[in-house]
């Protein structure tokens, strides 16, 4: 029997389910280690050496070094864990979230001040491809 995953057609969204968590276990636990200030310092001093202490895939390590949070999520990362990397860099949650949208920091902040991203056209993946076609 297959588990139901009705959330797979929500655009630009990854639901952190048991399969994601299984793939991302070591990546997320590495993030947890950054809650201690001495670990934050050690990580920033030599990111590669610190990451090599963890049983993460090479892809996961590279995504962390690149600060590519969308890639980290695709590889099993969860945003509440990944935020600890952003915190280690001295970034706010808004900067972290905004970095995943392809928008500049200012444009993202302005969007939020003006009421946030609209739900219209953002409910289903097929709406988005339709919108894109309409624009084309």
């Amino acid at each position: 029997m297959t588990n139901s995953k009705p959330y797979l057609d929500v655009p630009g969204t990854t639901v952190f389910d048991a399969d994601q968590a299984r793939n991302g276990y070591h990546l997320n636990q590495f993030c947890m280690s950054l809650m201690q200030s001495d670990n934050r310092e050690r990580f920033l001093a030599d990111e590669r050496a610190y990451l090599d202490e963890w049983a993460m895939s090479e892809e996961q390590k590279q995504a962390v070094i690149d600060r590519d949070f969308n890639r980290c999520i695709a590889l099993g990362g969860n945003i509440y864990f990944l935020a600890k990397i952003g915190a280690t860099d001295g970034h706010s949650f808004q900067q972290i979230a905004g970095s995943m949208t392809g928008m500049t920091e200012d444009a993202y902040r302005d969007m939020m001040v003006n009421g946030g991203r609209s739900i219209e056209g953002n409910r289903f993946e097929n709406e988005q491809s339709k919108n894109k076609k309409d624009k084309d």
Partner: protein, 288 residues
């Protein structure tokens, strides 16, 4: 006997705590948020409970992927504010209420809810920001106005508990509080939400209409709201909007859904944005 006198509902955005800690509450960006809690602070000081039962979620702070309890009740004597990566918030430690918490654990587990019992955990912004918002600022060397029983719900790793399960849990918590012998005045708070998404290309999603309809239904048709499926929260209110299922725990503990009178709406507030999030807030008071 102990009794529930009111429920309160509020978002728990970390940036709100940071705004208070850094003295930014009067800035134009933040003052509309804090204006919405002026009434609440006055109301709280005039209706100070003996205990707050605070439903919140841990954000990968006390619970890593090593251990993920669906429902966890704090039965400890005190809890430290956590370092979530930005350093600890300069707020006091939280005093628990071990006697009432142990009684609730005993009663609710015997009502077939499998709670995890926690005696030691650090509590993150999910718990401290609602306290700061409703109780007002408290210095790190001061103390919070009353003891708090932390009750953590997993809304980070799916599957999270259903709205219906949360609502029925609220009913079981009410029965537990009603059967505690000491005459304590207890408030139950549900926190998190409202619409927000913190991840992926859809980050920044806000859905005002959905949020307002949620508030309406939480007040007037909670029983129907409890049956809303997860996918509606995720699709309409953003992946982190799922936190709103925690509001159903507090709502399920109110009198009107347990054979009594409807509560009075003392306060309702909604504002966009606080950082990435829509802020929603309600106070419902029980009528005798």
């Amino acid at each position: 006997m102990a009794r529930i006198t009111a429920s309160a509902f509020t978002s728990h955005v970390p940036a709100i705590g940071a705004a208070m800690d850094l003295g930014k509450t009067q800035e134009p960006y933040w003052s509309p948020v804090f204006d919405g809690y002026q009434y609440s602070r006055q109301w709280f000081s005039e209706n100070k409970p003996d205990v707050v039962f605070l439903v919140f979620n841990d954000h990968a702070t006390a619970f890593s992927l090593d251990l993920i309890p669906t429902f966890a009740i704090g039965t400890g004597a005190h809890y430290k504010p956590a370092d979530e990566g930005w350093g600890r918030r300069p707020v006091p430690a939280i005093e628990g209420h071990p006697e009432l918490a142990a009684h609730i654990a005993q009663s609710v587990i015997q009502s077939d809810f499998d709670l995890t019992i926690v005696n030691k955990m650090d509590v993150d912004h999910g718990l401290t920001v609602p306290l700061s918002l409703i109780c007002g600022p408290v210095d790190a060397d001061g103390s919070w106005p009353c003891p708090v029983i932390p009750f953590a719900v997993n809304v980070v790793q799916y599957p999270v508990p259903s709205g219906r399960r949360c609502f029925e849990l609220g009913r079981a918590i009410r029965r537990a509080i009603d059967s505690f012998e000491e005459p304590l005045n207890v408030q139950i708070w549900g926190t998190g939400g409202m619409s927000h998404q913190l991840q992926g290309p859809r980050a920044g999603l806000i859905n005002r209409e959905w949020d307002q309809a949620f508030l309406d239904q939480l007040i007037n048709e909670p029983e129907a709201l409890a049956d809303k499926p997860h996918i509606d929260y995720v699709r309409e209110a953003g992946s982190e909007g799922i936190e709103l299922v925690m509001w159903l725990v507090a709502r399920g503990a109110m009198s009107d859904v347990n054979g009594g009178k409807a509560p009075e709406v003392k306060h309702r507030f909604y504002h966009v944005p606080a950082s990435n999030t829509a802020v929603g807030h309600l106070i419902l008071e029980e009528k005798l």
